[in-house]
Amino acid sequence: MSKIMLDFISIFSKGGILLWCFKGAGLLDKEWEAFTPTVNQLIKTVLLQERTSKSNYWENGQLALKYKLDNEFELVFVVAYQKMLPLLFLDRLLDELQIRFRDMFNDSLKENLLSLDFSSFDSEYSKAVKLVEAEARLEEEKKKLPKSYDQTDKAKKTIGSMIKSDKNETIQLSKKAEKKAAKAAAAAAGNNNDVASPQQQAPPSPNVNGHSDGGYGDDGDELDEETIRNNRQKLFSGGKKSSKTSNAKSPKPGKTGKTGTTWDPIMFGGKVSSTEAKSLDRTKDRPEDEVVNVDIADRRLVGTAAVIQDLQEDDIMESSDRAKKDGGMFSIFKGLVGSKVLTKEDLEPVIGKLKDNLIDKNVAAEVANKLCESVAMKLEGSVCGTFQSVQSTVKETMTESLLKLLTPKRRIDIIRDVMEAKANNRPYIMTFCGVNGVGKSTNLAKICFWLIENKFRVLIAACDTFRAGAVEQLRTHTKRLNSLHPPSANGGKEMVQLYEKGYDKDAAGIAMQAINFARDMKIDVVLVDTAGRMQDNEPLMRSLAKLISVNAPDLVLFVGEALVGNEAIDQLVKFNAALADHSQQENPHTIDGIVLTKFDTIDDKVGSAISMTYISGQPIVFVGTGQTYADLKSLNAKAVVSMLMK
C-alpha cells in the first residue's frame, strides 16, 4: 500500500480558476487531457443541477470522482480515480486537504486568487497523503490482528464455571452475562451505544465495543458466591423459576436460556397462580391511581372559563413558528456581533421547515429532500452576512437554487429551429407522449394554433390508434383551426392537415408515412399525437420507444399535468428509461422537454414544475392554462419561485 492509485486531484475556485492540481504517475497524455472535460461535466451535471448529495460521489465511464465544497472560501476539491479500484480513505483525504489548504492560504484566499502561487502546497499534500495512508493502514491492521488472550472465550470461563453440572452452568453463564451487560450498559451510557439491541451487548464475545474484559477475574469470584447462594435458594424454594422477573432487574436482559412460554390461561386453559397473574396484567396507569391528580387539576380551572375569549394572534401561530421566531431574534443579535459561521445545527430547523413548506406546495417528497440536502451542503461552513438571520440566508440560497433549476439549460427557440429545418427542406417533427388523460391532444391543438399564427404549415399525425374518438377529436380541431386561418387568407394553401389511417394500426408506421407525406408536400411542422400509456405497461412503452427511435423526431415532449404529485417522478423516470433501453441506437433520444398542463387548476401549489425539471433535467417548454387555443404560455421562473417560497 505504498502508492495511491489516484489519477488526479485538483483544487479550484467556484469561479473556475484552477488553484492547484496533482497528476498521478503513469498517465498517458490522452488520459490526462480527458480530465478537464470530465471535471466540467461533473460541474454541469452535479453542482449546477443541485444534485450534490451526502455521498459526494460521481462516476463517468471509467473514472470516479469524489468532490467536496468549501463554502467559506468558495473552493471545490475534486479527486479522480479509476472506478474499479475503490479507495476507502478518500473522504478523509479530502477533509485533510481542505484543512491544510485553508490553514496555509487563509488570509490570501480572501483577496485576489489569481496572483497567488499555490505550488507550495505540494509538500503539504504529500504530508496529508502519508498521514491518511498510515491511518488507513492502521485500521486495516486492527481488523486483521488476532484476538488477545483476554478477548477470547476461554478467558471468560473461570475455573468454577468449568465444573460440569448442567443446571448450574446455564444459570451461572446467564448471571455472568447479565452482570456483564449491566457493566457494559453503565459504560455504554457514556459511550453513545445503541441502547435498543440488548442481544449484541451481552453475549460473551470478544469485541464488545473494544472493551477487553480485564477485570473479569474479580467479577467471576463475586458471581460465583452469588450464584451459589441463589442456587441454594432456588433448591429450597422449589417454585417455578420465572425467568422474566429476574430479567426485569437488569437494565438490559442478557442472553437467557429458553424460558417457558406463558400462555393466556383463559384462552388456553390452565391455572393462573398469583405471581403469574401479576406478570400477565398489562394494565398501566390504573384509574384508581390517579384520582388525586385529576381532582387538583379540576379545581384550578373553576371560575376562569366563564367567558369564551377571542382567538389571539399568538394562538393562531404554530408552535414551530414561535420557536423559529425566538431563534431568529437571537441569530440577529448574534449576527450583529460578528460574522457567523453556519453549522449543521443552525441549518437543520430552518431547512426542515423549508422542506415542509415545499412539500405543502406539491413538490414531490423525494425531490424536496434532495433539494434541501443540496442547499444544506452549499451553506455548511459558509459565513452569514452581518445583518442577516440564518433563515433569510437559507431562504435566499433556496430561492437561487430553485431559480437555477427552472432556468432552462439549453436554448429553447422552437420557431428558430423550425425556420432552420425549413431551410434544409425537411419538416420539423414534434412528438407528444405521456400517461392517460393529461391533455396531449388539447395542447397539441394549442401548439398547432401558435405555429399557424406564425405562418407555418402544420401536419397532425394521428398516431393514437387506440382511444375511441381520438381521430375524430383531431379532425374537429383541424376543421376549427382551418376556419380560423382559412386557405383564402394564406395563398390558397391549407394551414393544418390531418394524416390518419383509422384505428388499430401500427403507430410507428403511421408516423413514418406522415413524415414522408409532409416532406413531399413541403409542410413545415409535423405534430405526432400518441396514445396515453401508463409508465408500467411494458409493451406500450416498447412501442413508444420504437416510434421515437424509428422516426427520429426533433423534439420529444413529455406532457405532464400540474396536479400530479409524487407520481411525476415515477412517470418521468420510467418514460426516460423505456426510451433509453428499447432504442437500438448508441445515443437514444430521450425526453427533450416538458409540457406542463392544467396550470390554471392549481392556485399556488406549483411544486410539480420543480419535481419534473429536477428529475428529468429538461426545461419546461410550454405551459397549458386552459382549454381554448390561446391558453398556451411559457414558464415564468421568477413568478413560480416566488409562489413556492411564500
Partner: protein, 257 residues
Amino acid sequence: MSAPKSPPSPSQMNSFFQETKEKLESRDPQTVAILVALIVGLVTLALILFISKRRKFGRGILLCGVCDSGKTTLFSQLIQGKPIETYTSLQENTGILSLAGMKPVNLVDIPGHERLRDNILAKYVGSARGIVYVVDSSVVSKQIRDITEFLFNILSNPVVYSARPSVLIACNKQDLGLVKGASVIQTLLEKEINALRVSHSNTLQGTDGEGPDHVFLGVPGKQFAFSDLACKVTFAEVNTQSNEATEPVTEWIRSVA
C-alpha cells in the same frame, strides 16, 4: 379642530427673519445648531443624489459569452498577464483592472452556463460601461444559434438598450487551425440576428400574464447590420493564450474607460 392657519403675511415673515438674524449675530447656540444641522442635511442629500446618478453609468466591463469560449482565461490574462487553466465557472469572477493611462475599471467575468448567466448578468448590467462578448472562433459555425441567442438577449436587454454601452466582440482561439476570421463571424452573426428578431417577437407570454419586453434590433424591413445599433460594436481577433494577441482587448478597454 382649529381653523386652518392662514399663510404668514409678509410682515410676519420679515419679523421672523429679523429675529433669526439677531439671534445669529448674538451667536445664540440653539439657532446656530439648527442651522448647522440643516446645512449638513442638505449637503448629504446632494451627495447621495450625485453618487446615485453617477452609478448609473458605472465603471464596469463585463465579459460574456457561452460556455467554453474563454472568458475566464481572458479575465486572468487581463488582470494577471498570464493565462491559467480553468473549468466551467460556477460563480462570477470580479477584479479591478488598472492599466496605464486610464482610471481603474471593475472587470466582471460572467459564467456562460445557461442556468446562471441571466441571473448574474442582471446583477451587473446596470453598471456596465462596456461589454466584451467572447466567441470561440473554431466552433462558431456549429454553435451559431446558441452563440447568437445570448448576444441577442444581451443587446435587446432593456437596460442595455437604454444605457448603450460599447460592445466588443472578441473572436477568441485564433491560434487553432481552421478558424473563422472576424469579418466572417460578423456576417454569420448578422444573418442569425436577422432571423432571431422575428422569432423572438413571437414568443409566448409568461404564465403571470406579462410578456417579455421586446425591443426590435436594427431597422425593420432592412437586413440587420451591427452599424444599425445605437451602441458601438467593434470586432477583434484575439488569442487569450498569448499576451500580445490580447492587446486588442486592452486597447479597446482603454478607449472605453
